[in-house]
Symmetry: C2
Subunit: 524 residues, 2 copies
């Protein structure tokens, strides 16, 4: 399949007339062909209007039909074959195994949501039967199901060019919910975006879905992205990226005549608490394991462990020596974009130039372009609490160790943090008491709490929360990974005394869709 540089608006390929975008190979800083032509307000309108035209029909497609559509997208992505893998590698600097793994994850997500649609728990069916003889007033027949919110604007993420981009988690969950999707492609991987977009376009056609169910636009976030979020026919937004980008979209959405929900996954430094007994028992192994999590994928994960909290002690010194040694073996990795590399270098330089911060170790360097040299730093809890700049995310393989006077100070450090995607506790049985003291704070601060692991690696399953209080996300009530992500794109509707002929299938007597229902308050 050729990459043409055109946008996909419904079933059409449309060549933009706004600014031209080129992908850059970050490993070489070379420009990749072809040119991608950015869209205009007219393209935003066309995509949003097609999405709106498709909405009523698409949201009422039968569950099996919608599930097969999602599975068809997965098949079409695989059918792109090596063309997709090579292009994604060239545009992202990520190695082949990672891209192939991410493709598998992307397909897995689509298939998970296919089964979520089939099962239908997200419809939250509740039936309170009529009680005509109730005194003093009879009760009407009331039935609740959820319906889709409307067309969703999805912003592809730079760090997952497949799994959180054009056909990623936001798109999969929105389509599963019954929402048409208009994607604003990330300018770092436009070719990958076009290829995946064409796979979806093919699946739309093969599955007999209304064409407006999917469109793909190119352009800048400030122009095409902002116009999309402002568009009155767009009813929700999915975004993964920077705090500044996410909060900008939140502001636009809140200031619309009709405000809409924004699900932005933004910023997290993912504290790792090393409890004393665990540190004593396996400080060296923890140091090694930590460096593995820190440097994987050049640290370009939302859940990268950017903060380590421990009591200043000989055991911590053992951890640091092991981490330092492990870091020395870490070769550089190409970062996703020159911009991310520059931001990373700036963040690391700020730590190096901070008089209250000490460098503990670093990975190998390289003269090649955009190479991430891992860095590990330390400071004291007192200094950390006094310097807000130290809570800022450095996106990449850099982490800061906070040396505390005692375990009680862990809670002070935790309370000082903003909202997080994850919080990790390394602990042994002797640490349970201290951990129990810390847990309430971590529950208030993070979407996921993990023990004796590292936060990188986000399972796509039912019990996952990839979310958390602001600024980890814009909406702590949601997750962007896992089956509960579908809940972001639905709202409840109640039907009172509707005749059977007019009720949606999900609510009809006899439960034709075989859904889990709450009948008069009882699960059945």
């Amino acid at each position: 399949m050729d990459i043409t540089g055109s946008m996909l608006i419904g079933s059409q390929s449309v060549t933009g007339t706004s600014k031209t975008i080129y992908a850059i190979n970050p490993a070489t800083n070379e420009r990749l062909s072809p040119a991608f032509h950015g869209g205009t307000q007219a393209d935003v309108n066309a995509a949003a209007e097609l999405a709106w035209a498709a909405f009523d029909a698409y949201r009422e497609t039968a569950p099996e039909q919608r599930a097969q559509f999602l599975e068809c997208i997965a098949d079409e992505i695989l059918a792109l074959g090596d063309t997709l893998v090579q292009r994604a590698m060239a545009e992202s600097g990520l190695p082949q195994a990672r891209i192939e793994g991410e493709r598998g994850r992307t397909m897995g997500q689509l298939k998970l949501f296919a089964n979520v649609v089939r099962t239908g728990n997200y419809l939250d069916v509740r039936i309170d039967p009529a009680m005509p003889d109730r005194a003093p007033l009879p009760r009407n027949d009331l039935r609740l199901r959820t319906i889709a919110l409307g067309p969703v604007a999805v912003f592809g993420a730079s760090n997952f060019p497949l799994a959180f981009s054009v056909a990623g988690g936001d798109t999969a969950s929105a389509l599963a919910a019954g929402c048409p999707v208009v994607v604003k492609a990330h300018s770092a991987h436009p070719g990958t975006s076009e290829l995946v977009g064409k796979a979806i376009q093919t699946a739309v056609k093969k599955s007999g879905m209304p064409e407006g169910v999917f469109s793909l636009l190119f352009g800048s976030g400030r122009e095409v992205g902002a116009e999309l979020v402002k568009h009155p026919l767009i009813k929700a937004v999915g975004f993964t990226g920077s705090r500044s980008g996410g909060t900008a979209l939140m502001n636009i959405a809140a200031n619309r005549p009709e405000p809409i929900p924004v699900y932005a996954e933004m910023s997290s430094i993912n504290p790792v608490f090393l409890m004393p007994a665990a540190l004593k028992a396996r400080g060296e192994a923890l140091g090694k394991g930590f460096v593995g999590s820190l440097t994987m994928g050049a640290g370009q994960f939302c859940t990268n462990p950017g903060l380590v909290i421990a009591v200043d002690s000989p055991e911590l010194d053992g951890f640091l020596v092991a981490a330092q040694a492990a870091l020395k073996d870490v070769t550089t990795q190409t970062m996703l974009t020159p911009g991310i590399f520059q931001a990373y270098s700036g963040g690391v330089d700020a730590l190096k130039n901070n008089a209250n911060v000490e460098q503990v170790g670093e990975g190998q360097g390289s003269a090649n372009p955009n190479q991430c040299q891992a860095g590990l730093f330390s400071t004291t809890a007192a200094q950390f609490l006094a310097d807000d700049s130290l809570t800022e995310e450095v996106f990449g393989a850099s982490s800061l160790v906070i040396k505390c006077n005692d375990v009680a100070e862990f809670i002070k450090v935790a309370e000082h943090l903003e909202g997080q995607l994850t919080a990790t506790i390394q602990l042994d049985e002797a640490d349970y008491g201290d951990a129990a003291q810390l847990l309430p704070t971590l529950e208030r601060k993070a979407g996921r709490i993990l023990c004796n692991g590292f936060p990188t690696g986000v399972e796509v399953c039912h019990a996952m929360v990839h979310g958390g209080p602001f600024p980890a996300t814009s909406d702590s009530r949601s997750t962007s990974v896992g089956s509960a992500a579908i809940n972001r794109f639905i709202r409840p509707v109640s039907y009172q005394d509707l005749p059977q002929a007019l009720l949606p299938e999900a609510l009809k007597d006899g439960n034709p869709l075989k859904l889990r229902r709450l009948m008069d308050g009882k699960s059945e």
Copy 2:
């Protein structure tokens, strides 16, 4: 029990030092004693800090303990006896039967949420067991439950001095979720608020809850209310009231350093569609029934039917003649406040002075203060579509009939509407085809769709949605009535590989709380 004019901050009575508020008896315009002293920023701080101090302990109270606390509040409200009923009548102008009924509803809501806490479905427990042998990577043990968001600011509503005020639906659902509550009392019924607040304060003490679980503040929305929503320790807002009041709170919340969710139930004109066969079969009965719904409680309900849509026809004339006749028998009723009466009179005058609107009928008048004289008006669909002022809510017993050329025009009128709490269809079997055409639009526009009834009367049950797209509410994903209202005040947290000793009860092996769980994606 005496009414003292003091605020309740935790277990203390605190006399405010800001502006003085008096309740007004709207039936006489007389000032009621005592004086209520408004709070200051310091009182907001004190209440929020106590709420925060109570939060971690309160949110982890055992379900049975929290359920009994809610039931104890209901008992303490009943124990206020006639003192409460008389004071609520004097402050609201509402008749005794209504206040007693509303007290029953308030207690019923508290008891419903007690059972919601006991059942625990809102915890949304999901367990994905570890798969240590999975290739290429093992799966960790992942368990999800919801936790409470944090302290909630609740704004009492004028039109339900009991059921949507101090111990109303917002407070009951927030307390059920595990959130401490700080109420900003509505200045129209401060005495009722103090009495109910003391009932909650007593229940907090009797139930052994941390004192900060509940506080009650007096003061203006612009001062005390705004400061409360700005306070960093407040994590969500519940509000029922005007569109201007609700959107002001939305703006404050969106512009905080940490934005928080606002659940504002604001504005709805609740269209009623009269389908041709139904109108033909029972136009007269519909006219009578409609006037009953329109004028109940002086029309001071969020779901009051402010819009009637029908085909211009002899059958509609029959409906209008019956409505006109029924209206003539409607005596005036005292409105809740002089402000509401003035706004109603202004809205009715605007309709009377609108050259494109005709008056169809009106209720009886009165020279007594603040009396609502019911009004019924009509216009054509073309005029309605051309004049945005006609979609504005007139809070009170006024309604506008839209005469359409044909049923196809119903959809145009429906599409022209903003978000609504309800949409009603009066239909017979011959109308099902037309209704099916209209339904997709109504689903997009409203939170509840009802057939062959009238929208007033909101059942407190599991399948109720008292919500809807903006501006009916600030958040279409929520309901403020019924058991699903608890979902507004929770967020999911995922626990990865936590030892049993540290897991919350809801997630432990053996399911000690006997919760409905999703085990590896399957309901059990």
